[in-house]
């Protein structure tokens, strides 16, 4: 039985580790700047945790087999423990775990402790049951006032822009987030009803959109392409289909698209 246990534990361990190692179901290819440090930190954590995982499980299997009752009446090695060993492995664990954490905090600090550069592109993201809307401030760089009572997707004003605000003239809202490559973007997240969460896996970006709060987050896309956006906080029956699209385009394409959108907006006035 000891041998059976060893084999089962070792097999489970090796098979799981194999699939982790070959990265068969890999993260979506990285397309953002801050993601580089995150992905490499993933690897570091993988290795540390992986070593511990292998050591512990293989050790467990080994111990269980080696210490089986062989029926030969041999005495056990009676012991209540070993204080020195306790101190050593406690200290070692503390150093490894807390050290890992402290070493990686820099990455968190970089993306969260400081705001976006003033030159960042600003987009306001609104989540509601069950869609994402993206509002661009237009040439004046200002977002117009919104009013909850004006929110009405059926008349094309899902976000509730107050047309009495002069800044509303050049605001426009899209269902697709379009951004230029290699430029920092600041997203301001808000929600109209319950908590949602903007998750762009390829950008290694996730942030809850909380009603009552205006949360600013920034990132910089580094690859042209189309990336799916998912909602990552349970928001009701349509949570699974609340998804959007991020299109990262070249700077010229972005400017063309902006201009087109502005023109459309003016035409519809």
């Amino acid at each position: 039985m000891g041998l059976v246990l060893l084999v089962v534990i070792w097999l489970i361990t090796l098979i799981s580790t194999y699939y982790f190692a070959i990265d068969k179901w890999a993260m979506l290819p990285l397309a953002s700047a801050h993601g580089v440090a995150m992905d490499s930190w993933f690897h570091v954590t993988y290795i540390v945790v992986g070593v511990v995982f292998l050591a512990a499980q293989i050790g467990l299997g080994w111990v269980v087999w080696k210490s089986r009752d062989r029926g030969d009446g041999r005495p056990v090695s009676y012991s209540h423990g070993n204080t020195k060993m306790e101190v050593v492995w406690t200290a070692l664990t503390a150093v490894i775990f807390i050290g890992l954490n402290l070493a990686g905090e820099r990455i968190w600090a970089e993306s969260r402790f400081q705001g976006a550069a003033p030159s960042a592109i600003k987009v306001e993201v609104t989540g509601l049951q069950f869609a994402w809307y993206f509002r661009y401030p237009g040439n004046d760089g200002r977002f117009a006032r919104t009013k909850p009572e004006l929110e009405d997707a059926s008349v094309g004003n899902a976000v509730g822009i107050d047309d009495e605000d002069p800044a509303a003239k050049d605001d426009f809202v899209t269902g697709t987030l379009v951004l230029p490559v290699d430029r920092e973007t600041e997203l301001t997240l808000r929600s109209q009803d319950v908590i949602h969460s903007l998750f762009i896996p390829a950008m290694r970006f996730k942030q809850d959109a909380v009603p009552g709060l205006m949360i600013k987050m920034h990132f910089k896309p580094t690859q042209v392409g189309e990336y799916e956006i998912a909602c990552a906080e349970l928001c009701g029956l349509g949570h699974y289909k609340m998804h959007g699209m991020l299109k990262v385009v070249s700077q010229p394409d972005y400017e063309r698209w902006l201009a087109q959108k502005e023109a459309d907006k003016l035409a519809s006035e």
Partner: protein, 586 residues
């Protein structure tokens, strides 16, 4: 002492220890902690069947969304969310908080410390029946108009605070809150009882440092419960008020729901999260600590060796208990909470990995150099260690907020908490069942069926939950009722199918256990007083124990709880009540 007061004292003693007669007083409204423990256990068993059934429906729906289930028809996406919510609620509250603590703790804490019953038997009975009412109210949520809620076991506001936010968020959600509030009250009563009993009713010689580790974990778990459930109760009351009376604790201004302006103003959804997780994190330690105690007990007993580092184990349990109150923010890194708080919570969370690791080393150290007997309880204890390591090691990923950005609210988290709670803690319950069944019912469970149950469960649960790590890393969000909308999920469907198939097999295998349990109750081989040759006090009394546990004889404790393989002793184990000197210098 003169006649009247002596008579009073005698009468009191007789009253306290006389066995009840009549079916109702013996089996229904019993004051006997053993009966109450069994009641809790079977309530938890009923709950786990409900929870498991819900998860079966969930796994079917995920891979075959159009399937037609007999009696239930086609499962709609919102129904999936209801299944998910109630699965989590039943499992976390009515299984993992009940069976290890209410079930085994109630039954064995008094006996293991040498007491005749809990400190407050009436309170004990009250806490069980309150829990039972809570269970009924929770079940009722399925049958009211709108059905059971869909807001997840975590009940985040405003989704849970606004009646029109989704189907089931009307009366169903109110019943959910009321049930949980009742559960909180019952748990607080239970915690009070456990703590008083442990502090005040220990027999002579049973110092704190001679208590079995099971008692230590029940004790610390009770302290966690004492301090945490009050917070959930407060939060639940505030949520109920927001939902029904128009207060705005958690609901901010300016909301528009389904085209209608919401009248609430000024509240904070994050306030709910803070209150909930301040309870929620100690809750998960409440779920796992007793399992750790059982693992320690069994690993020592069946390796025929003392536990390695008893004192360190006690300190580790205390450290886990204390740190457990300081880490709740790690559920909220992405919530909009201050990133500086995130940093603080992150360090504390990594710190809690240290006592957990110490325990793992000590378990290995306990087995090393032992003479392991591979009984079914031992298999589950070994399985517990393996699963605890696996589940625990996904922690360092989630504890680092820069990695949590990618992993939060994905299947990676589902994998983590299922391996730790949904498997390791459950293995703790299984291990305890196989170990203590002979004592509780006077019969042995079938070893062959037990071993079969173990291997199916061990391999099966790994096969279910290990792959979920891969899903999570690939970006698969959790709580999605259908996987048809998001493009990048298409490649992950084969893995989801694999998980579902293995889940069906593993769930089916649990019926081996159920059959074994129920059959052995009546037909199991009769058990002696100490079939495992164990040292703790429950093995010094008949199986099952008499009404007052020790038959009027008062135990006197002379040894620590894990004196196995003592050199020079007459046999390979020295019971705690053996005369002093039986264990040499110990």
């Amino acid at each position: 002492m003169d006649a009247p007061s002596q008579a009073a004292a005698g009468a009191h003693a007789a009253h306290a220890h006389a066995a009840p007669t009549g079916f109702i007083r013996k089996y229904v409204f019993s004051l006997d902690h053993k009966v109450i423990g069994i009641q809790y256990y079977f309530l938890a068993l009923l709950s786990v069947l409900v929870g498991m059934g819900l998860s079966l429906l969930m796994r079917i729906h995920l891979v075959w969304p159009q399937a037609n289930i007999p009696w239930l028809g086609h499962i709609a996406p919102e129904t999936y969310l209801t299944l998910l919510t109630m699965h989590g609620t039943f499992m976390v509250f009515f299984v993992l908080t009940l069976a290890p603590q209410g079930g085994f703790g109630n039954y064995f804490l008094p006996i293991q410390i040498g007491a005749a019953d809990m400190a407050f038997p009436v309170l004990n009975m009250l806490s069980f029946w309150t829990t039972f009412v809570a269970f009924c109210v929770m079940l009722a949520a399925f049958f009211v108009e709108g059905g059971a809620p869909l807001h997840g076991w975590t009940g985040y506001a405003p989704l849970s605070a606004l009646q029109s936010s989704g189907p089931g968020e009307g009366l169903g959600a109110d019943l959910w809150i009321i049930s949980i509030a009742l559960f909180c009250a019952a748990s607080l009563m239970g915690a009070l009882n456990f703590i008083t009993t442990t502090l005040d009713l220990r027999a002579k010689g049973m110092t704190l440092m001679r208590m079995p580790l099971t008692v230590w974990t029940w004790f610390v778990t009770a302290m966690l419960g004492l301090l945490a459930f009050g917070v959930l109760l407060a939060a639940g009351i505030l949520l109920l008020l927001d939902r029904n009376v128009g207060t705005s604790f958690f609901v901010p201004s300016g909301l528009v729901l389904s085209g209608n302006l919401v009248k609430h103003k000024g509240g904070s959804p994050l306030l709910w999260q803070h209150l909930f997780w301040f309870f929620g994190h100690p809750e998960v330690y409440i779920a796992i600590l007793p399992g750790m105690g059982v693992a320690s007990q069994l690993l020592s007993t069946f390796s025929r060796k003392p536990i390695f580092g008893y004192r360190a184990m006690v300190y580790a349990v205390l450290a886990i208990g204390i740190l457990g109150f300081l880490v709740w923010g790690h559920h909220m890194f992405i919530s909009g909470m201050s990133p500086y708080s995130g940093f603080a919570f992150s360090i504390l969370t990594m710190a809690i990995g240290v006592p957990s690791a110490i325990k793992t080393f000590n378990w290995l150290g306990t087995m090393w150099g032992g003479r392991i007997r591979f009984t079914t309880p031992m298999l589950f204890a070994i399985g517990f260690v393996s699963l605890f390591v696996s589940g625990g090691l996904s922690g360092p990923f989630l504890a680092q907020p820069q990695l949590d950005i990618q992993l939060h609210d994905t299947y990676f988290v589902v994998a983590h908490f299922h391996l730790i709670m949904g498997v390791a803690a459950i293995f703790g319950i299984f291990a305890a069942t196989y170990y203590w069944f002979p004592k509780m019912f006077g019969r042995m469970m079938n070893e062959t069926l037990g071993k079969a149950h173990f291997f199916f469960s061990f391999v099966g649960t790994y096969a279910i939950f290990m792959p979920m790590h891969y899903l999570g890393m690939a970006g698969h969000p959790r709580r999605y009722s259908q996987l048809t909308e998001l493009g990048y999920l298409h490649n992950l469907m084969p893995l989801q199918k694999f998980i579902s198939i293995v889940a069906f097999i593993t769930i089916a295998a649990q019926f081996i256990f159920l059959f074994n349990l129920l059959w052995s109750l009546f037909k199991g081989k009769k058990a002696g007083m100490n079939p495992w040759q164990a040292t703790t006090l429950e093995w010094t009394v008949p199986s099952p124990p008499p009404h007052d546990n020790f038959g009027g004889v008062v135990p006197v404790v002379n040894h620590g709880p894990y004196e196995y393989g003592v050199p020079g002793a007459a046999s390979d184990f020295v019971m705690q009540t053996d005369p002093a000197g039986a264990a040499g210098a110990h």
